[in-house]
Symmetry: C2
DNA sequence: TTGTAAGCGTTATCAA
DNA sequence: TTGATAACGCTTACAA
């Protein structure tokens, strides 16, 4: 955009203040004057410079979001909910993926300088930088991490779902379990899932870590696990993608799921419904997490609320066929 | 961020011009002076305001991207490639999803005012607005649409792949085909796929439109198609998601794929490898499309290049098991 | 109801 | 080598 408020003012024969007022409705403007201004705006195809507006208003009307990687449906879904609500609230969304980046701190600081508030996933941002951001007064909302002072946190319930899942598997009669995708960091969603399942199952479950929570890593780890001497009867996975990898590994080894080994996931991504067998999993409201994050951030930014809030959304056990045979077929 | 260049200048006992020079290395600064400045910057934890910098520099150091919806892996993958390269080039990425939005034009204009250039998918933006953006000199790159003057376009090859796919299916002996997800708009990827397949198959293929290119829509349309009197032997789908829906429909109807009906997709998304049966599809380099778009935009913005360029990336037929039985099993 | 002018936080030109 | 100062494009008291 090239034409400025000065040219509009000149053309309309008024001052720039009047143009601004007429356009924003922020002060009294005579009907006839408004007419002239709007006409000039129309003719010149004027759009106020975002930079000018932001500088004067002291706000960006934009939100940031920091995620490790966009691969996989989980982050995408959250992003979708976030962008939708942000847009409703008149805010753009600036994204930043940290995976494989050097100088993450610089990137995040730059991002923080472009927006009014930040949504951050789990422990994507180094703790010292988080502290600094809080100290600088940057509005922050975290998804999937433990509460901290000075920022909102938002997460899905994990422990109770883990217990429900464990109970369901126990009901199938399984006695030897493995947790595939054992947590690498503590304090995040996966760690809670692991703790929950373990506390319900006791010593009957073994932790099997994966490099990342991806299909490929799940595949590799499951191949070793299932090919080994001590095959578990049921594999509880950290999330659906790892579980899909496990399904693949089982197939390659000629094992039937759930006949030879049961497999469960977590999240309920699209592919969980389309895999064979369909995945038993725990559904978490990914899109809603994003939507709520956008609203929370807005509250923090506008000052409607100034004390941090820590919210936990409920989840739902989705029983499909990968965990064992059920008397009457369940479908979703 | 709160501290300005003035406070740094005062603390260092120099002028703001000197601070700016010292920080950007854009003019001569005495070693001792630089020291003082850096010290003050450090102590005050100063970061130049992005708004101030952008206003003075006359550039945003940010790119925009406009997509219909982020649901599904296609857009995500492209976005991933785009953001990665943009970040390398020192540019942030501002996203805009248009699906379900009223006042799309306003949103897009706002976005255009926040960035130095825009990546736009297909026909997401109304043609008159495209023309206006071109006229205003906004740098534009399109993915998956026909070339137009004043902007770069980038797409994957479709016609030859369609012919290859058709030939492969014909090789299986099929004679009655359906194209599921028939194009609603012309001039985009899906239309090219349809035209390509049809020109190879002649009258033997029937067009079956879907409301959207999603699993659910694919499912619905496929259910009607497969449940009808005139079941095709092979269903060529507009993309993998529609194909996954078709797979689901076949299963629900008790039909074996590929025994009773063959199904093929397009794109080669993650789920295509994990479905049962695994999808025969055409792989297009989604991430590379995004990466190239970012570079193209950068060339346009920096002025390294000023004539539009229209690029077509090659694709690859990926034969798996959903299209029929193969003598020796193919895997990917 | 309208205009003048002081910010907002930088960069960069031009003198000194 | 450094410092005033004029942009950059807007919003918004404050005066008129």
């Amino acid at each position: 955009m090239d034409v400025t408020i000065y040219e509009v003012a000149k053309r309309a024969g008024v001052s720039i203040a009047t143009v601004s007022r007429a356009l924003r409705g922020t002060g009294p403007v005579a009907a006839k004057t408004r007419e002239k201004v709007l006409k000039a705006v129309e003719e010149l195809n004027f759009t106020p410079s975002r930079l000018g507006v932001s500088l004067a208003e002291g706000r960006h009307a934009a939100n940031g979001i920091v995620f490790p990687d966009l691969a996989g449906p989980y982050y995408t879904e959250v992003l979708l909910g976030y962008e939708e609500v942000a847009s409703e609230l008149g805010r753009s969304v600036v994204i930043l993926s940290t995976k494989g980046r050097t100088k993450v701190n610089d990137l995040i600081k730059d991002l923080a300088g472009r927006v009014d508030g930040l949504l951050i996933f789990g422990h994507t941002v180094p703790e010292p930088l988080v502290a600094e951001l809080v100290r600088l007064g940057v509005r922050l909302v975290f998804i999937s991490r433990e509460p901290l002072p000075g920022a909102d946190t938002l997460r899905s319930e994990n422990t109770a779902s883990a217990h429900a899942l464990a109970a369901h598997l126990t009901g199938h009669g399984y006695e030897r379990f493995a947790f595939l995708g054992a947590p690498l960091t503590s304090q995040d969603d996966v760690d809670e899932r692991w703790q929950g399942v373990r506390s319900a199952l006791g010593g009957a479950i073994e932790a099997v870590p994966t490099r990342e929570y991806t299909v490929d890593c799940g595949f590799e780890a499951a191949r070793d696990l299932l090919g080994g001497r001590n095959r578990p009867e049921a594999i509880v996975c950290s999330d659906d993608e790892v579980a899909l990898g496990a399904l693949l590994a089982a197939e390659q080894l000629g094992l039937d799921v759930p006949g030879d080994v049961a497999v469960t996931g977590w999240d309920d991504i699209m592919a969980a419904r389309h895999s064979r067998p369909a995945l038993t999993t725990v559904r978490q409201p990914m899109r809603e997490l994003g939507a709520r994050a956008a609203r929370a951030l807005d509250e923090l930014i506008t000052g409607v609320r100034d004390t941090p809030r820590h919210l936990i959304l409920t989840t739902e056990l989705v029983v499909r066929s990968s965990c064992g045979h059920h008397p009457q077929e369940v479908s979703t």
